[in-house]
């Protein structure tokens, strides 16, 4: 043991003399661990929330019976099924508005609720009575209570009735209010109706479903993956992909730092062996040293990761809420396994990055047989091998594009593209540099290109990191830009009214309408409405569009039949949202049956419209037809056409007259700003990770250059000896670095655009259900090119400055010490 410690101390003494190297190694490991575990923390946080939601009262974890083609079923089916041996528990779900804020209302039946439905509210003993008998209780998560701005015990109003008093239930999923089913039926005005029946796990004999419920109900098997998990997969995959990318870029740094340290310590290792340290012991201690460093870096990385996650969490939560309606608590809570996994990934990463060096150490002979490296031959073989691998990976990507049809396949295409590009990069550089060499005339010029080629093997890892970071930046930047541009145009069409009102109740809405009709500045009142239904077993929204020129002129349709708007009027046709059309493979001219309270509503599709940012499928129908078919539709929403100058006074008058606040009445500009803000937040995480990755790539380049700078002195010394000034040499070195960085960046641009295309045409379509037009933003590309060169300049500056200021003695020593 003591011996091990002594050897360890000797090995570690190297770092004391080379603190920069140690710093590089640690920075690499820390940034790899930090970004990776930060992203993992975010994912874990979100998954916990989904689990909570899925486990709450029969999310998708529980088997359930749902109406075959109706949103709700009669409660009698519940009793009939119980009496036929089915361990079912009824549930009613709907949406209500509290102070203009939409929340999910869930009616449960606590007595029959299956015990497997974990996370159910422990309706505290004496509380069953309070929960089920009037006025009942309304369970709410603390977060939701805060969002609603209400106190425990408060009794908000909704749907024209006073709701049961609120009671906080800690483990409840946010955004949901839970009441007894009987009370839910009253609030939602669905007496004797249930949305679904949860099926318990009891194995008691039961009658066949058809013999009890006929064709009215359909059994939905439990799904290990929750709806939210499925929906948000893309988002998390996206995060994970960035985490992985940063992790690998971090490992590039570790790899170069360890490689350098190992080269420098070779004599030390030989001396140790000569002094009687066996190869096995030495290797053990080398691994031990690495693991200790990884442990330290891992811990620091985890702390950094925690802060990264905490910093990004609000944006992630906002993105998930905006995109999928998923509620993520804003307080980061991490399981112990996260810490352990973080440390493990740090150690494994360090070992992987050091694998080559360690293998070399194990094979190292004690006696040096100084053989000049046949670098050229080795490099050629290595280049050929890498290029072959790259071609294979590209072929795989092509295959995936052709045959893959899933989100994972989409990301696999991206990964394959990037990997292939990284692998082929050295060959591309080689060819470019060879071309340069051939076109050079002067000896220094020839040397310039030839030496750059020789440097390639040492720099290629860092250049690969730079390539990937740049390509991802170009790709994501292009995607976000395309998104933004499309979204803005779309938003202009969607928000065509000048003022938006959401009344507190139908009665108030009627009053407001009457009042508005008297106002001359109001050019049009456009009522809006929204009902919930389902299609193909998934919930959809049914949107009512008034028959008005405002909509006909502005509402953006992606595809439509002739006279679509005219045909919409009678109420037997509809538009469907792009994501619904994609999911259900619907096209203009198809027919669908939408369950409505009075029976199925057959509709012909006459148009497809973009509905960005909506997790649910949506169809749009004539407003009047909607209120006929869904009589329960709240009539509280309306838009107004008003001349710009009259908007502010009208809103003020409305607020004064009806006591409406900012949430209930807003002008178009405010709505747009708000929408844009939400949308921008969606991509802020991506941008932040993007910046991180580029930063890490810059560090990778710097460390690689530092590593090279030392080993390059022997190559530079002869040039100095034959009369090139140090300043000239330094300038040449700088130029060389910039040249390879430029070639890499130029290669990254098309790759990045390809990545963007993949994101827009494959990943987004799979993940969100919409496809965006592809826009190229040249200014952005030039900007990134400049950033890349700047990064290379920064990275090269330090070693080059050192070279320029190097004492001639150091260069002379090269000749003396060269073996």
């Amino acid at each position: 043991m003591k011996r091990v410690l002594w050897i360890l101390a000797v090995l570690l003494s190297h770092w004391r003399r080379h603190p920069m190297q140690l710093a590089t190694l640690l920075i690499g490991l820390i940034s790899a661990t930090a970004l990776w575990s930060g992203v993992q923390a975010l994912n874990q946080q979100a998954r916990n929330a989904y689990d909570r939601a899925a486990a709450t009262f029969g999310g998708s974890r529980t088997a359930m019976l749902v109406g075959q083609d109706a949103a709700t079923s009669p409660q009698k089916l519940f009793v009939d099924l119980r009496r036929a041996g089915w361990p079912v528990s009824p549930m009613l779900e709907g949406r209500i508005q509290i102070d203009g804020r939409g929340v999910r209302l869930l009616g449960i039946e606590p007595v029959t609720l299956p015990s497997e439905v974990g996370n159910a509210p422990a309706v505290g003993r004496g509380d069953l009575l309070a929960f089920v008998t009037p006025p009942g209780e309304m369970l709410v998560a603390p977060e939701t209570l805060r969002d609603l701005g209400l106190k425990e015990g408060a009794r908000p109003e909704a749907n024209g009735m006073t709701l049961p008093p609120l009671r906080v239930q800690g483990e409840l999923t946010p955004g949901v209010l839970v009441v007894d089913i009987g009370i839910a039926q009253q609030i939602l005005k669905l007496p004797g109706q249930v949305s679904r029946l949860l099926v318990g796990k009891s194995k008691a004999p039961r009658a066949a479903l058809e013999s009890v419920a006929g064709e009215k109900l359909r059994l939905v098997e439990p799904n290990a993956e929750s709806d939210l998990e499925r929906l948000t997969d893309s988002f998390h995959l996206n995060l994970t992909a960035f985490g992985l990318l940063s992790f690998f870029v971090g490992l590039f740094i570790v790899n170069s730092a360890i490689g350098l340290a190992f080269e420098q310590r070779l004599p030390m290792l030989r001396t140790l062996r000569a002094c009687g340290v066996s190869a096995r012991l030495l290797n053990t201690v080398l691994v031990l040293e690495l693991v200790s460093l990884a442990l330290v870096a891992g811990l620091i990385g985890l702390v950094c990761g925690y802060f990264i996650a905490a910093a990004l969490l609000p944006d992630v939560a906002a993105s998930l809420r905006g995109l999928y309606g998923a509620q993520i608590p804003g307080q980061l809570s991490l399981k112990p396994i996260w810490w352990l996994a973080g440390i493990a990934i740090s150690i494994l990463g360090a070992l992987a990055a050091a694998a080559a060096s360690l293998t070399k150490a194990i094979r190292m002979p004690v006696l040096t047989t100084a053989q000049p490296q046949a670098w050229q031959q080795a490099q050629r073989r290595w280049l050929m091998f890498q290029s072959a691998a790259a071609l294979a990976v590209f072929a795989m990507a092509a295959g995936l594009i052709r045959f893959g049809d899933s989100l994972i396949a989409g990301f696999a295409v991206l990964a394959a593209l990037m990997l292939g590009a990284a692998l082929i990069l050295p060959m591309v550089l080689q060819i470019a540099l060879a071309f340069g060499q051939r076109s050079a005339r002067k000896p220094v010029g020839i040397w310039f290109w030839a030496d750059s080629r020789q440097q390639l093997s040492g720099l290629s890892l860092a250049l690969m990191a730079l390539l990937l970071a740049l390509a991802v930046n170009v790709g994501v930047g292009t995607m976000v830009g395309s998104f933004n541009r499309t979204f803005l145009v779309w938003l202009d069409g969607r928000l065509a009214s000048d003022v938006y009102i959401n009344a507190a109740s139908d009665a108030q809405a009627t009053e407001i309408k009457a009042w508005l009709r008297e106002r001359r500045e109001v050019e049009a009142i456009l009522p809006g409405g929204r009902a919930d239904s389902q299609l193909g077993g998934a919930p959809i929204e049914v949107l009512g569009l008034p028959d008005h020129a405002t909509y006909r002129d502005n509402w953006p349709l992606l595809e439509s039949a002739a006279n679509a708007w005219v045909r919409l009027r009678p109420g037997d046709t509809c538009f469907v949202s792009e994501q619904l059309a994609r999911r259900m493979k619907l096209a203009v001219g198809d027919h669908i049956d939408v369950p409505a309270p009075g029976g199925n509503w057959p509709l012909e599709i006459v148009g497809i419209y973009a509905d960005y940012g909506n997790p649910k499928g949506q169809i749009a129908v004539n407003y009047a037809a909607l209120t006929r078919r869904f009589p329960q539709t709240p009539l509280t929403r309306m838009g107004l056409r008003v001349a710009p100058d009259n908007i502010a006074p009208l809103i003020a008058a409305l607020q004064q007259q009806f006591g409406l606040d900012d949430r209930n009445v807003a002008d178009q500009a405010t709505m747009k700003t708000e929408s844009k803000r939400i949308f921008n937040r969606t991509f802020s995480v991506t941008s932040a990770l993007n910046a991180f990755t580029l930063g890490v790539a810059g560090i990778a380049l710097l460390t690689s250059l530092l590593t090279l700078a030392n080993s390059r002195l022997p190559q530079l010394a002869p040039l100095w000896a034959i009369g090139l000034t140090r300043r000239r040499l330094a300038a040449l070195e700088l130029l060389k670095t910039m040249a390879v960085a430029l070639i890499t960046a130029l290669f990254a641009l098309p790759l990045g655009l390809l990545v963007a295309w993949c994101l827009l045409a494959i990943v987004n379509v799979k993940a969100f259900g919409w496809r965006l037009p592809f826009h190229v933003f040249p200014l952005q590309l030039i900007e990134l090119l400049a950033v890349a060169l700047l990064a290379a300049l920064c990275a090269a500056a330090l070693p080059v400055a050192r070279l320029a200021r190097m004492q001639p003695a150091s260069l002379i020593r090269i000749f003396v010490n060269e073996r």
Partner: protein, 369 residues
């Protein structure tokens, strides 16, 4: 257990079987939840109807629920045997519990909570199941005429020619994950009022219930244990009891016997245990013609003979019973000493044999251990 532990349920769970033995047991166990539940129970006894001596029973009306009283049950136990002579027991129980007093409300706002227990016992196995339901929507209820008591798919139902005085013929069905039964119950005698003409005293401090039985059932039908059907026949016993008043706080548990004596005589006997170690023995001796007389004091005793340990609880599953005035001195042994009802509120309930001055079969219930 199971998600919710509302007062009402703990109460009704606690109140297994005749009398309030379970309730007392809950107190004895010191379970916080149950103790709280009972505290609540004590307060709200007010507002419910009270049990008083001299009630005139009316059938079939009294076969139905009495929602003005807090608790009520329909309780059937059956001693059965198959063609090869192997013996079995079957239990079917429906409990009703009112969460608060007042006229019954229809729909989800109904204040009744129902609980069902079912079990099958053989010499080698004991299977049981439980279920819960809210009143007012039809998942569980009792209708006096035509007579039907049910919770989920379990039911006790009057058959054609049902006679309210005899409470027969009946069909009894229940099934759990690994057992089930369907029995037909017939009786030649009218039902029997327990206690003093149906007024059954539980303590010296006024706690009491209305209590009647049909101990003369002949049972025949089929049991299913782990998918294997067995045709059986034998005897069965129905107990009906309702009340509003819980046990006295110091009563800790309950040992209850229903015995089929030779010559079609029946004995219902129970001992209430008190915290201070004192105990009270109550019972009725029923003659073959259906006349029922309360056991009179005087040297009557019951004493444990053998203890079975189940999950850390010590249960006296064999007994010596002595009623000198009736010339009765018997020793009872269980068909299966592990007839443990591991339900939300657990207790022991199973078929027994006895011998001595009299020999026969019956059922034993032990609560509060």
């Amino acid at each position: 257990m199971h998600r919710i532990k509302p007062t009402a349920l703990s109460a009704s769970r606690a109140l297994t079987r005749r009398a309030f033995a379970g309730g007392a047991a809950a107190l004895a166990l010191g379970g916080k939840a149950l103790a709280q539940g009972f505290a609540g129970l004590g307060e709200t006894a007010e507002g419910f109807a009270q049990v008083t001596p001299g009630k005139a029973f009316a059938f079939p009306a009294d076969h139905g629920p009495h929602p003005e009283f807090r608790i009520e049950w329909w309780y059937v136990t059956a001693n059965l045997s198959d063609a090869s002579g192997a013996t079995y027991g079957a239990q079917w129980t429906l409990f009703r519990q009112a969460m608060k007093p007042g006229a019954a409300v229809e729909g989800w706002a109904n204040q009744q909570v129902w609980m069902g227990h079912a079990a099958v016992t053989s010499a080698t196995t004991h299977r049981f199941s439980e279920t819960f339901a809210r009143g007012g929507i039809g998942q569980a209820n009792v209708e006096p005429a035509p007579f039907q008591a049910w919770i989920d798919a379990w039911q006790l139902r009057g058959l054609d020619g049902f006679d309210a005085q005899r409470v027969a013929p009946l069909e009894l069905t229940a099934a759990g994950a690994d057992f089930g039964y369907a029995l037909r119950l017939d009786a030649g005698h009218p039902l029997v009022l327990q206690g003093d003409r149906g007024y059954s005293r539980k303590s010296d401090r006024g706690q009491a219930s209305y209590y009647y039985s049909q101990p003369f059932f002949r049972a025949a039908g089929r049991l299913v244990i782990e998918g294997k059907p067995v045709d059986v026949s034998g005897r069965a016993w129905l107990d009906r009891e309702w009340s509003s008043q819980p046990l006295a706080a110091d009563q800790t548990g309950w040992d209850w016997f229903s015995l089929h004596l030779p010559g079609d005589e029946k004995l219902m006997l129970y001992r209430l245990r008190q915290k201070d170690g004192r105990e009270n023995l109550f019972g009725n001796w029923i003659t073959p013609d259906g006349r029922s007389a309360e056991i009179t004091a005087g040297g009557n005793s019951i004493a444990p003979l053998a203890i079975t340990e189940i999950g850390g609880r010590k249960l006296p599953t064999s007994w010596r019973v002595t009623l000198p005035a009736r010339g009765l001195a018997i020793e009872t042994t269980p068909l299966n000493p592990t007839s443990w009802m591991g339900t939300s509120f657990p207790y022991w309930e199973g078929p027994i044999r006895f011998s001595g001055s009299h020999a026969g079969i019956g059922y034993l219930e032990l609560t509060g251990y």
